[in-house]
C-alpha cells in the first residue's frame, strides 16, 4: 500500500494499524495538523477513533492509564507542545512507576525552530526521558511509521510502560509515501528474557524444602495474564499468598490461599508472617518501600525467590537467593512442574488468630460501626456488597484509597485502577473516565477524597460531555485526611494546612448536570448507594465522613513490618 499523504494522516493510519480505537486528547497550536486529520478520522466514512476531549492534559494521561489498566491495551493521549506536553508529565511518571502501557503524542515546534525558545517549545524528550520507558522526537514524516510502531511495541511488551513521542510540526505536514511498518524486534531491548532452567530448579528445591512458604503477588501476574498459572502454582504446594495493592486482582479475594494485602496499611497477619516465613516467593512485584518497611530488618530469616520479567528488579531492594528472570506466564508453570504437592495447612492456620485479631480490632469497627459519624470503611463495604464484586474500583489517593483498596472485593481480573507508586492525587476521576471506555458495560466506582476530587475536578466536564457512567463516591472528611493522620500520629497533632474549606458539591454537580446525592446518616447509606447504582450514567454520591478517622492497621514509616499497629 503506497500513497502520498501528510504526516498527520500517516499518524492516523499508524494508530489505526496498532488497533487504537480511543484517544484522549486536547488540541493546541503545535498539534493542529493532527487534529485536522482527526476531524476526518473521528467521524464519517473514515471514522477510526473515538476522540475524548478532556479538560486538562493531565486528565488525558490518567484516562489513558485507566483505559489501559482495565482493557490490557495501550492507552493513547494526544496533546499540544509546551504546556500541553508538560501537563502530561505527572501521568507519564505515574504510568512509569506503575508499569502502565500508554503512548503520549505531543506536538512540537517545527525542527527549524527547535532550540530557539520558540513559542510553546519545551525539551519534552529531555523532560520525559527519566520518567518514561522510551521517548523519541519525530522530526520528519518518513519516521512516523517506524516510530509509532516502535512506540507501541515498547509500551506494551515486556514490563509495560509509558512512551512519549514528540512530534515536530513540520513532520505533521510533510508529505510522505506512507508504508506500514511493524516493529516487533529491537536489537537493544529484550522484553522477554529467556528463562534459566537451573534457576527454576534451584527455586523449586527451596520451595520443596520450605516449611513456611509465603508468596507475594504483584501486578506482574496480571500484566503477564498469568492468573491461572499463579493459582495452579499456589494450589499445588499449598502456599499462602499476599497481594500488593496493585496486585489485588491477580488472585481473587475469595481464593482460600489469599491472605490479604501487603504493605503499610495491608493486613496484619501477612505483614507479621513476612518476618516468620522461611521461603519468600515474590512474583511480579518490586519490593516497594510501602511493602517492605525498613529493609534492614525485612524478612531477614527467609530465603528469597524473585520471579520478575525485569532483571533490574533483582537485588534492587531486597537481596535475592534465587532470581527467576522471565515472563511469569512461562516461569510459573515451569516452577509448578518441579515442585512437590505439599500441605501447609498448619502454617496457614497460624495466620488465623492474627486475622481474627485484626477483624475484631480494626475491620469490624471500620465496616460495621454501631454509632458515630459515617466512616469510609462502611461506605466502601456497602458499595462492594451491592456491586457484588462486579464493579471496577477506581480510587484517588489518600485515606479514601487505603480504605477502598482494603475493603473492596476483587473476584474479577483487571478491576482496579489506583495510583500505587507515585500516589498521584487527581488520578481517580480521569482514570475512571478511561475505565468506562476501557471496560464498557461494567460499573465503574470511583472513590475520592475532598482533596483529590478537586485536583482534577475539571474532568467533570468530560464526564458531562461523554455522559461517562462514573459512579463518583466523594468521601468528604473536610481534611487532607491522610496527611492529617500523619500529623496526628507523628507530628504532635500540629495540623498544618490540612483542614480544607470545601465548596458546595451539590452546586458543582448541578453546574455539570450530574445527578447528586449526599449521605450524612448511617441509616440512609444503603438506599443512597442503591439509588446511585440504579441510575444510569454519571453520579456523585457525597458522603459526610468522620473528620478524624485513621486508616489502620499501620506500619509507621521507616519501621519494620512486624511493628504494624492495630490501634
Amino acid at each position: 500500500m503506497e500513497q502520498k499523504i501528510t504526516g498527520s494522516e500517516a499518524l492516523m493510519l499508524a494508530l489505526k494499524a496498532q488497533g487504537v480505537k480511543t484517544i484522549f486528547g486536547y488540541p493546541g497550536g503545535s498539534i493542529m495538523p493532527v487534529y485536522d486529520a482527526l476531524y476526518d478520522y473521528a467521524r464519517g466514512e473514515k471514522k477510526a477513533f473515538d476522540h475524548i476531549l478532556v479538560r486538562h492534559e493531565q486528565g488525558a494521561t490518567h484516562a489513558a492509564e485507566g483505559f489501559a489498566r482495565v482493557s490490557g491495551e495501550v492507552g493513547v493521549a494526544i496533546v499540544t507542545s509546551g504546556p500541553g506536553a508538560t501537563n502530561t508529565l505527572t501521568g507519564v511518571a505515574d504510568a512509569m512507576i506503575d508499569s502502565t502501557p500508554i503512548v503520549v503524542i505531543a506536538g512540537q515546534v517545527p525542527i527549524t525552530a527547535l532550540g530557539t525558545d520558540a513559542f510553546q517549545e519545551v525539551d519534552l524528550v529531555g523532560l520525559a526521558q527519566p520518567i518514561s520507558k522510551w521517548s523519541y522526537q519525530i522530526r520528519h514524516a518518513e519516521d512516523i511509521a517506524w516510530a509509532v510502531s516502535r512506540a507501541f511495541y515498547i509500551a506494551r511488551s515486556g514490563r509495560p510502560g509509558p512512551v512519549v513521542l514528540d512530534f515536530a510540526k513540520n513532520a505533521q505536514t510533510e508529505l510522505v509515501d506512507f508504508k506500514m511498518e511493524k516493529v516487533d524486534f529491537v536489537r537493544s531491548y529484550v522484553p522477554y528474557p529467556k528463562l534459566k532452567m537451573n534457576h527454576v530448579q534451584e527455586a523449586a528445591d527451596l520451595i520443596n524444602q520450605a516449611k513456611k512458604p509465603l508468596a507475594l503477588v504483584g501486578q506482574g501476574v496480571e500484566l503477564g495474564n498469568a492468573q491461572d498459572e499463579l493459582i495452579a502454582f499456589l494450589e499445588k504446594a499449598d502456599i499462602p499468598a499476599g497481594r500488593t495493592m496493585l496486585g489485588l486482582c491477580a488472585l481473587p479475594s475469595d481464593h482460600p490461599l489469599n491472605v490479604g494485602m501487603l504493605g503499610m496499611h495491608g493486613n496484619y497477619a501477612v505483614n507479621l508472617k513476612e518476618q516468620e516465613c522461611d521461603v519468600l516467593i515474590a512474583i511480579g512485584m518490586r519490593f516497594s518501600d510501602r511493602v517492605t518497611g525498613s529493609l534492614k530488618t525485612y524478612a531477614k530469616q527467609a530465603k528469597v525467590i524473585h520471579l520478575d520479567i525485569d532483571k533490574s528488579e533483582m537485588n534492587k531492594n531486597v537481596k535475592v537467593t534465587v532470581p527467576v528472570v522471565g515472563d511469569c506466564k512461562e516461569s510459573l508453570p515451569a516452577l509448578t512442574a518441579l515442585i512437590n504437592k505439599a500441605d501447609h495447612s498448619e502454617w496457614r492456620a497460624s495466620f488465623k488468630p492474627l486475622d481474627e485479631k485484626e477483624r475484631a480490632k480494626v475491620i469490624e469497627p471500620a465496616i460495621h460501626p454501631a454509632e458515630g459519624p459515617l466512616l469510609m470503611g462502611e461506605v466502601v463495604n456497602e458499595v462492594a456488597e451491592q456491586t457484588q464484586g462486579d464493579a471496577v474500583l477506581v480510587t484517588d489517593v489518600g485515606q479514601n484509597q487505603l480504605f477502598a483498596t482494603r475493603y473492596f472485593k476483587y473476584p474479577k481480573r483487571r478491576s482496579l485502577c489506583t495510583s500505587g507508586g507515585l500516589g498521584t492525587m487527581g488520578y481517580g476521576m480521569p482514570a475512571a473516565i478511561g475505565a468506562t471506555f476501557g471496560a464498557p458495560g461494567r460499573t465503574v466506582c470511583c472513590f475520592m477524597g475532598d482533596g483529590g476530587f478537586q485536583m482534577c475536578i475539571e474532568e467533570l466536564g468530560t464526564i458531562m460531555e461523554q455522559q461517562a457512567p462514573v459512579k463518583m463516591i466523594l468521601l468528604n472528611n473536610n481534611y487532607l485526611g491522610n496527611v492529617r493522620q500523619w500529623q496526628d500520629m507523628f507530628w504532635n497533632r500540629r495540623k498544618s494546612f490540612t483542614r480544607m474549606m470545601n465548596p458546595c458539591y451539590e452546586l458543582i454537580a448541578k453546574g455539570y448536570a450530574i445527578p447528586y446525592d449526599v449521605v450524612t446518616e448511617r441509616i440512609d447509606l444503603q438506599g443512597a448507594v442503591a439509588r446511585m447504582l440504579a441510575t444510569p450514567g454519571p453520579y456523585i454520591l457525597e458522603c459526610a465522613i468522620k473528620e478524624d478517622d485513621d486508616v489502620l492497621p499501620m506500619t509507621p514509616p521507616g519501621k519494620s513490618v512486624e511493628e504494624m499497629q492495630l490501634g
Binding site: G126, Q129, P130, W146, V183, D184, R187, V190, K311, S312
Partner: protein
C-alpha cells in the same frame, strides 16, 4: 560530575553512597554499548545522578562495531551499587549492554596533554628531566609554549602533572578520561549481537 579544584585532584573522592551501604567502595569501570540514537548520554548519566554516585571520568566514542557507541565510565562505589548501575543502564531501551569491571579485569590507559611555557622550559632544566623521567613525549615546541603528552595510568599522569605543577610551569592540563579493553577471552558484545541477530524475526527493525 562534581567540579574539583586542582588541589582536590588527588584527594579520595567523597561519596555519599546509598543509605545503609556499609560495604566498602572501590573504583569500578563501567562499559556501556548503545545504539547511536540522540539523548543516550543523558540517560546514562542520569542513572548515576539519581543514585548519588559521582562519575570520576567519562569517555564516549564510536566503537569498532558500526553504529554502536561505547561509553567508558569510572566511579567509586560498592559492588552492589555497581550491579544496580549496570542493571539500570541496561534497562534503557537503546542500550545494548552494560558491564562493570575492577582494574585487574581490564587493560586501561588514559592520555593527557600539558601546555608548558617554553621560556620556563628553557630556564629550568628540571622541566625536561621530569618529562623524560616520566616517559612523557614533547609533541610540539614553539617560542611560546611546549606541548607534552603523557599516556599511562591516572596515577602516572597525576605524578607528572604534580611534579611539573610544583615548578609552576603548567598553563593547561587536559585528561582524556580512562579508556580500556577487557582482559577476558569472551567478546560479550559480539556474543550479544550475534544472539540477537539469530532471534531477529522477519519484519523486525
Amino acid at each position: 560530575m562534581q567540579k574539583k579544584s586542582d588541589s582536590q585532584i588527588h584527594s579520595a573522592p567523597s561519596l555519599t553512597g546509598r543509605a545503609g551501604g556499609e560495604s566498602s567502595e572501590s573504583l569500578y569501570t563501567i562499559l556501556v554499548f548503545s545504539e547511536n540514537i540522540a539523548g543516550i548520554l543523558n540517560q546514562v548519566t542520569a542513572v548515576f545522578t539519581r543514585r548519588q554516585v559521582n562519575i570520576e571520568s567519562l569517555n564516549v566514542c564510536a566503537s569498532s562495531t558500526p553504529g554502536v557507541h561505547k561509553y567508558t565510565i569510572t566511579c567509586y562505589c560498592t559492588e552492589e551499587m555497581a550491579k544496580v548501575l549496570k542493571a539500570q543502564i541496561e534497562k534503557r531501551i537503546d542500550v545494548l549492554q552494560a558491564r562493570y569491571y575492577t582494574d585487574d579485569e581490564i587493560f586501561l590507559q588514559e592520555t593527557s596533554l600539558m601546555k608548558i611555557s617554553t621560556p620556563a622550559v628553557m630556564e629550568n632544566a628540571e622541566v625536561c628531566r621530569i618529562v623524560r623521567h616520566h616517559g612523557a613525549r614533547i609533541v610540539e615546541v614553539n617560542p611560546t609554549y611546549t606541548a607534552v603528552e603523557k599516556t599511562g595510568t591516572t596515577e602516572e599522569i597525576l605524578s607528572l602533572f604534580n611534579a611539573l605543577n610544583s615548578l609552576r610551569v603548567v598553563r593547561q592540563f587536559a585528561r582524556s578520561g580512562r579508556i580500556c579493553i577487557t582482559r577476558g577471552t569472551r567478546e560479550e558484545l559480539d556474543e550479544y549481537l550475534e544472539e540477537r541477530e539469530k532471534e531477529k524475526t522477519k519484519g523486525g527493525e
